[in-house]
Symmetry: C2
Amino acid sequence: MDDKNAMVIFQPSGRRGKVPVGATIMEAAIHLGEEIESLCGGQQVCGKCKVLIETGHFEKFGIESKQEHAGPLQEVESNHLSEEDIAAGFRMACATTIHGDLLVYVPKESRTGKQVVSKAARDLAFDPDPAVKIYTVALSPASLENSAADLERLCQALAEKYQLPEELRIDVYALRSLRECLSRGGDLTVSVWQGQEILRVHRGDPRPHYGLAIDIGTTTLAAYLCDLTTAEVVTTASLMNPQVQFGEDVISRINYHMNYPDGLARMSQTVVDGIHSLIEDALAAASETTGGAVRPNDIEDVAVCGNTLMHHILLQLDPDPLGAVPFQPANHASMNIKARDLGIHVNPSAYVYTLPNEAGFVGGDNVGVILAEEPHQSHETVLIIDIGTNGELILGNKDRMICSTCSCATGPALEGAQIEFGMRAAPGAIERVRVAAGSFEVDFKVVGRHQWRSESQPEEMRTKGICGSGIIDALAELFKAGIVTRSGAYDLKAVSDRLRENPDSEMMEFVLAWADETSIGRDVVITQNDIRQVQLAKAAIYTGCKLMLERMKLEKPDRIKLAGAFGNYIDPKMAAVIGLFPDCPLDHIVSVGNAAGDGCRMALLNCSKRLEADWVARHAEYVELTLVKDFQEHLIEAIHLPHMTDSFSHFDALLPSEPSSARSGKSR
Amino acid sequence: MDDKNAMVIFQPSGRRGKVPVGATIMEAAIHLGEEIESLCGGQQVCGKCKVLIETGHFEKFGIESKQEHAGPLQEVESNHLSEEDIAAGFRMACATTIHGDLLVYVPKESRTGKQVVSKAARDLAFDPDPAVKIYTVALSPASLENSAADLERLCQALAEKYQLPEELRIDVYALRSLRECLSRGGDLTVSVWQGQEILRVHRGDPRPHYGLAIDIGTTTLAAYLCDLTTAEVVTTASLMNPQVQFGEDVISRINYHMNYPDGLARMSQTVVDGIHSLIEDALAAASETTGGAVRPNDIEDVAVCGNTLMHHILLQLDPDPLGAVPFQPANHASMNIKARDLGIHVNPSAYVYTLPNEAGFVGGDNVGVILAEEPHQSHETVLIIDIGTNGELILGNKDRMICSTCSCATGPALEGAQIEFGMRAAPGAIERVRVAAGSFEVDFKVVGRHQWRSESQPEEMRTKGICGSGIIDALAELFKAGIVTRSGAYDLKAVSDRLRENPDSEMMEFVLAWADETSIGRDVVITQNDIRQVQLAKAAIYTGCKLMLERMKLEKPDRIKLAGAFGNYIDPKMAAVIGLFPDCPLDHIVSVGNAAGDGCRMALLNCSKRLEADWVARHAEYVELTLVKDFQEHLIEAIHLPHMTDSFSHFDALLPSEPSSARSGKSR
């Protein structure tokens, strides 16, 4: 914070921004587009705007007190909140003033906006062969004639019916429940891990058996709750990675660890807390779907992918070496760790399988992308661009595979805090933009609304900000319309009341949505600085792709796949206009969604994918781009927007681009 | 407790007895022969008699408050004890009055008696091949050229130098320390479990690597701290099993579990607490021996044996089925459980290996005896009598092996609470007795003193009670001298001032040591009831042996081995006189000490012994003696003492028996 403004982050939406000190949390929510329930309109009488002050400071500032960045508890709050709520840190958003930086959790019952799963699950084609398999057997009671122990009789029965090994291990937690299951007779359901270890035994009505695939992104946590017997996704849940309080990007998290002796433990606990939130959400949704109470105990397997830093933090491994040459991780290989040893509350016998790490920056998430997209099985050379907080690049075919990370944190530069009105692809985010040549009139579409602006009343748009696909659209359209030049600067000769100088920042900006088209009561603009950020990000991605093609001695890839929840929504034509990636026929560019999460899910549900994962981690060659000769020169060259005929030969075919409703048909 | 007397148990000695309510703990200690430091002679001025009130009640009575069975804290205690001590429950023995049953822990610094290891370690002949092996490698720093991860470089080095598999698992706790070890360079020492999993890595000066074999007896815990590189016993430690507060024998512990919902968890925690005491003692002794601080972290492997109930309680497995037909345990097979999952504080990566169970009552302790004595490798048929709290019997040869338990709790009947002056073989315990024919004069020897009574002044004896070998000696000698008849009754015609009727109990008793020969100021006697207890125990053992011989269609065994810390000190001749076991040439009877602990130690230090253990548990046949036809008749027949020429053909050769000093040469 500075003297006058404080940073407020809302969870789980991840909406954030600076607000004046002294404002209430409710005012901040309105300002930042966070929708908090308020039946009384902020009159402090309904008590519906209950929020949790998670951290009354940001850890990186090293302040310990929890509440000091919020004003004192008001009498009206004591009347509306229970003693337990107050003890737990709950406040009324309309009655709580902001004194400093705040992390605010908005509980489900206080949210008005519908939940948005930005990392939805794709249908994947693979044979289910989960690590944890379910077997049913019937056991006759023990007798003096067959007084073999409970476990041995169970193993005998499993061996006879399913040809499992006669001597299975059993987790001591499962062994503890065995007698209770056997004593009442009847059929038993047995969960066996890797054909080696009994994790769970229960009797009678078959309970559900779930596995959880967790994609730990630097910014977003996504979880896929899967049925281990059908291999279907039952529900998904996502959450902003609560570690953002320690810093936006990987470097600032490494720094947090280096600055605070307990930094690693705190970051680890924070992500585990986040995982517990995901589990709670996923189980609540699954309980609704299945009509029965689904409990943490029903989750019998967990697979986790994340970049190498996320992996190290979760496992509490010293991340120092990831920050310096030779960027060496603690381990490459996948691991199977009891969930209880990581403090993750699922079935106590369950394992957490961690996807292997490739190198210091590319980790199990990258392996997940490869598992899902299988470039190593392909005759064609595929370029996969995974745009999350970091841009990760994979280029390969069945003979060779190289991978790398982009030189800048692409996520923040495209939809994060570095963009004035940047936000995740949640309801109210501008996701599509068209700018008319000549008139410079703007049409746009927001997430959660089918009709474009031109088909709606202004007040129906309830715009809140711009997400990544929107900003790429906007820059491409502004460039095509001539408002932005090849250098990325606003063309001051362009005449439009939308293009103006901001009196405070003295910076040029272009209005995408007027205040009356928003729910935040302010014009949503793209600043000159926003454009610079996008240029830096696209230069980093483009340069990375080019250098990797050079490394493989190729002119261009046969196919391009855009991955990442964010990459999924980019319009390839628009990305081509701004030169986000090298030349490639348009119909050879596809979006593949959250491929990392998909790969993680495949590893959860198919054992051979786990073997493949370790093979991939060993065989993918990591290229450290910043060490490539003339890297900086390449990067600087790539900052300009491309010539209309440059670098993307199909450019002409793209004009004019029409508003398309294909996108709005997708469920978000 | 009754109205006037309370039961007091001292730990770790296990000394126990009833004392009048209102006495001080120091008075109780003197009465019961517990030696507590008291420089001022109980004047409440030295503060040396610090003791810990562990439980101010016995759990089986279900009372919760910790201190209510001890009088309130005195001012003098506040002056002598620190605030921390008082908060932890420490009291001055001389200032604390007894209001009810008490479990009192006497800390090392408050003990005057030297420590007695009743379960000393024998030299065993076996090839060391521990489950945890130690390797040393040197690693060069990571570089851009070889940027393999820390773990992979370590595995490479181990594979090259020691031909270990290239892909070892690693415990996540060990992985966490890997970077710290690597970053400072130099040689690394690596502990690998079963050639599969890295448990520990450290650098620089080689630290010691220890394994711990723990024999969990119903009454006694014994631990052997072994050097994993030399396979030598570094130190031993023993302690009364603190579970005795829940009941003396296995049945009363099962009942405690059935009566209290948290009974199992409490008993489990209690034995884990006891194990922690053993570890503390063993590490302190090892630190003295090695001259460096030895820490719990240095214990990298643990092997545990105990009867099936002790096994189930430690692992928190429901023990109900062990108490009823068909006496079925939860599992037979050995297990490897992380120490942290049992709450045992050694190296966090270490495994606890539990020896397998044979049946509902014979567990890993019996398997340990077999591992150590190897009847299954023998052409001769060996009868092993393991006398602990329970008598366990093994009869077998290379073709067949059967085992069983005696029908009564032999330990309590021979040296436990059922004997008026019964005590463990600790300093001051009568261990050898001679009664002159005709004069009925008594000579005896106590543990910890080389000279017999006849060679000493009365006050030098400092007798406290009678241990198991002493009571067998005494009964045999009284029988031979004609004071006790074949039926076990005192012969009222015998004339001796030592034989008298106790006016309170109206029961006959025989004085072994006069008050002036004791440190407790009372005559130490053998009551008629004591003799009945010994008869019951010997009948149970004898009948068990006979029925097992019948089962194998044998007249007599080729050899008899007496095992158990207690069995170790029995004089075979004396045991023969009272008919403790079937006929066998005297020179074919040997004492083998704590064979269960020895076997546990072998399993700790030799992997193939672990395989053998599972084989043994599968192949030993369990015979439930109480279900054998005419069992009760056999038992009743065996209660009489044998004819002088009966059942032990060498009896004549035994007379006269001379005081022997062979025994006193043993270190106890």
